[in-house]
Symmetry: C2
Subunit: 160 residues, 2 copies
Amino acid sequence: MRLSTKGRYAVTAMLDLALQGGEGPVTLAEISETQGISLSYLEQLFACLRGKNLVRGVRGPGGGYYLGRTAENISIADIICAVDEWVEFTRCGGKKDCKDGKRCLTHNLWDDLSNEIFNFLGSITLAQLIERGGLKEEGCISEQDHDTPTLMPTSRTEAA
Amino acid sequence: MRLSTKGRYAVTAMLDLALQGGEGPVTLAEISETQGISLSYLEQLFACLRGKNLVRGVRGPGGGYYLGRTAENISIADIICAVDEWVEFTRCGGKKDCKDGKRCLTHNLWDDLSNEIFNFLGSITLAQLIERGGLKEEGCISEQDHDTPTLMPTSRTEAA
DNA sequence: TTATAACCAAGCAGTTAAGTAGGAAATAGC
DNA sequence: GCTATTTCCTACTTAACTGCTTGGTTATAA
């Protein structure tokens, strides 16, 4: 799993789109202005997002972008995977040509963890983020008071 | 939160160390050999890990590395944060000099998500990973038999 | 004394990030 | 049809980062 600033830009832009996308399409120029991301870079990101049907572009004057599906059906993992291409790393080249079991075991453990992270991000939707964030919106200060059971991973973590 | 291949290397190395660190220290040369990571790169990673007291080095012949604490007390977030320095990104420069509330709101949402990911990774310890992974060790194949409905842990290979 | 292995620092090739530049194609309003 | 708008597309650029190499220095067990 790659989680870089590129993915952050994409999530930020999608959040912006979801927030103000109620009536009519949102132009990239607006997002660029609001979020401080260069227009051309946004275009590149949205080319990726469009390729995965996460957004839908409307050309011409009055055009812009819509969400490709409802915010309830777009997960953070969807967004990040669209722009940060998943690099299928080592895991012994996909085959089991490890010299001994140790290397392969370690890679398996990492693979499991990687899937865990992926599933976790896949369980968070744009709608959830917005709904949850809206509750603490007053004051524009992010106070991280964390007793939030709603977004925590499903109970696969501690047992198998 | 940054989650790059650098962090993956660090987690892999720490897993290796935890796995074979029962009796005596483990040399970086062994980890390098087993995991296929260059020795010098390991040295750089372990310099970071040592700085955060996640490992303890013993010089001289017969030397090597121990875990800095028990595997139960080392989380994945600890490891990743040690090598992938947390970049405290935008959030409007830490202050609330947003032009309007929108930008700030989006940043807050990202901040929340970022904390969520961090807490998630912080809730997984090396010991948990190993204990859980050991159960499905037979065959050296990571079988993702999670019953995740919407998520596709396998479909990212064909997403290209 | 010597071999071992952690420590340290400078630098390098390749990749990626993020942005720039300059368009082409679609479309609403005139 | 013309024009402005806005998506869409391609190529290039600068800076940063990754992963690795080289060449050391210390500490220490034998």
